[in-house]
């Protein structure tokens, strides 16, 4: 059998090729992206660039281009921690998230904050009622796992101290982990009613050319952010076991522990869902977070 006759014996494959060609939309058999602008330079066909992926991930860069900003994430969102609502901060025992509102605010100027609140239904205590020292400073701190509510904190002048009596720690039934109280002395854990600044705010996830519709938002927050000034100013008074500060030589700064958050927007743009991760030598804790647009 000659090679020609052998090739002819392969007629089913030619039939299949015919099927493929019939499925094509154009006249030419093109591999890859179709070229719609058909630009030619010196007779050589130049491929049109991919749809422009000019929107950077970082929000602060997106702000410079109104085709990339605002994203659909801009707005006020109310949320809460759902699954595994715990996080690490310095200590081996995890903290529990406050059981009240998480207020996420992203405005059109790129300002972005997250504020943790006590559960409005839970009893609240005024620290100044307890005869504690009041002075200026961040409005609240959270108690730590081993000591329960840290009654030794000083309250913010005029601020209401909050005790968020949330769920008990599974490993320490006596400790209230998300108990936030007003005060200006640094303590471990998330501070209540403090607008945490969102760091490394990024949007991503949409296909090339559709980046303004990015569904995903990533950011982090420094758990000890409220205590930056206090850490720097009160080196001598800090208990290294309880304070969220890291001191070296004559300088103290907030503990670098972060919450790293990834959220994804629902298709209708009305809800966000994702996780908040915190790391410790003991491992990574990932809590579920959900938000609903205000």
């Amino acid at each position: 059998m000659s090679w020609r006759s052998r090739l002819c014996a392969c007629h089913p494959c030619l039939f299949s090729l015919g099927l493929l060609l019939a499925a094509c939309s154009g006249n030419a058999f093109l591999i890859g992206e179709s070229n719609t602008d058909g630009s030619d330079i010196d007779g050589a066909r130049v491929a049109r660039p991919e749809p422009e992926d000019h929107c950077p991930d970082l929000a602060e860069l997106r702000l410079l281009d109104n085709t990339c900003w605002p994203t659909r994430h801009v707005g006020r969102w109310h949320g809460f921690a759902t699954t595994s609502p715990q996080y690490h901060h310095r200590r081996a025992l995890p903290f529990e998230y406050p059981s009240g509102d998480l207020l996420l605010e992203l405005d059109e100027q790129g300002r972005a904050t997250l504020t943790f609140s006590a559960s409005p239904e839970q009893p609240r205590a005024r620290l100044d009622d307890a005869g504690l020292d009041l002075d200026a400073g961040p409005s609240s701190v959270a108690a730590d796992a081993s000591t329960g509510i840290d009654g030794g904190m000083a309250g913010d002048a005029g601020a209401v101290g909050r005790v968020d009596a949330g769920a008990q720690h599974p490993e320490d039934a006596g400790a209230r982990l998300d108990a936030g109280v007003a005060g200006s002395r640094p303590a471990l854990g998330l501070a209540l009613d403090f607008p945490y600044r969102l760091r490394e705010l990024k949007m991503s996830g949409a296909a090339l050319g559709r980046r303004p519709t990015d569904p995903r938002v990533d950011f982090s927050l420094l758990i000890a952010e409220p205590w930056g000034d206090v850490c720097a100013a009160s080196l001598a008074q800090l208990d290294p076991e309880l304070a969220p500060c890291v001191c070296a030589a004559d300088v103290c700064s907030p503990d670098p522990g972060l919450l790293t958050v990834t959220l994804s927007l629902s298709a209708d743009g009305r809800a966000l869902r994702g996780s908040a991760r915190s790391e410790a030598p003991e491992g990574v804790l990932a809590a579920g977070w959900e938000f609903v647009r205000e």
Partner: protein, 281 residues
């Protein structure tokens, strides 16, 4: 490779292409690779050199949810009017939630008619041609069915619960006779229908088994394709793997708010208002 070998390979490729084209079509065609045939892994059976993929029993015990029983401010009857772009995926205009102090709860998407109980296990239930997508609206809930909530817990103002989406098929599953299934290298397990390798949909439906083409009620085939049951040697019950975990927060006295994430990127936002007993229908 000689030209003859090349031609033979092309011949094989043409056949594979034809098979792929026909198997990818719907309608009165054969659909290759039904769930029962795949045993949870489409690769099983295609590559004899790999280890068999065994069906993993569901209903693995999960730790109890953190939290406490619902508080007095969460216990009661709640109702939400469904609105927004996603509401149409639930074929209902209203969502109703009932929570008791002992953690019992029910969730129901309002419908004029609750689904009739399953009486005939040989036919399908709540599903029709052309397959499992017909069983529920895209939101995954059977309108009018009262889902018994599991894992109800509260953490401060936050309420969580789970709805088992195959629960409406519990009665139908109980009518099924368990069929032992075997896969070489795997432990035996039980299902509601002998395994088949392909399903044909049309006015009459059939499945392809080792012994040949076998007719099957179209509604039953659609129900089987959903895989709503889990069986042991003694009987079948509703599967528990298809589920929705829901979290709501008491945002103000008498108002619960949250979202039902019914797909990875799709959510129905709901705001439930407390309904006084006297206002309940």
């Amino acid at each position: 490779m000689t030209l003859l070998q090349l031609a033979r390979w092309h011949k094989l490729g043409a056949g594979m292409l034809a098979l792929g084209v026909s198997s990818g079509c719907q309608g009165d065609r054969w659909v290759i690779g039904s769930p029962l045939a795949g045993l949870g892994d489409a690769g099983a059976g295609l590559d004899a050199s790999t280890a068999p993929s065994c069906r993993i029993p569901e209903d693995e015990l999960e730790p109890a949810p953190d939290g406490t029983l619902p508080g007095a401010d969460q216990v009661g009857h709640w109702s939400a009017l469904l609105d927004g772009a996603e509401a149409s995926n639930f074929s209902a205009s209203r969502l109703e939630l009932t929570l008791a102090a002992d953690g019992a709860g029910q969730l129901r998407f309002e419908s004029p008619n609750a689904p009739a109980p399953a009486l005939d296990g040989a036919r399908g239930y709540l599903c029709t041609t052309p397959g499992a997508t017909s069983c529920t609206p895209p939101g995954g809930f059977v309108p009018g069915f009262e889902y018994a909530l599991t894992r109800v817990s509260a953490r401060g103002s936050i309420l969580g619960f789970r709805a088992l989406l195959d629960e409406p098929w519990g009665g139908w599953c109980a009518l099924q006779t368990p069929v032992e299934q075997t896969t070489p290298g795997c432990p035996a397990y039980y299902d509601i229908e002998p395994s088949y390798s392909a399903a044909s949909w049309g006015e009459a439906c059939s499945v392809l088994r080792a012994e040949g083409r076998v007719a099957i009620d179209c509604g039953r085939l659609a129900t089987v394709e959903r895989r709503p049951c889990i069986c042991t040697s003694t009987g079948c019950s509703a599967a528990r793997s298809r589920r929705l975990d829901v979290y709501l927060r008491l945002v103000s006295p008498g108002v619960l708010e949250g979202a039902l994430w019914f797909e990875r990127d799709r959510a129905l936002v709901v705001q439930l208002d407390r309904v006084a007993d006297t206002q309940r229908r």
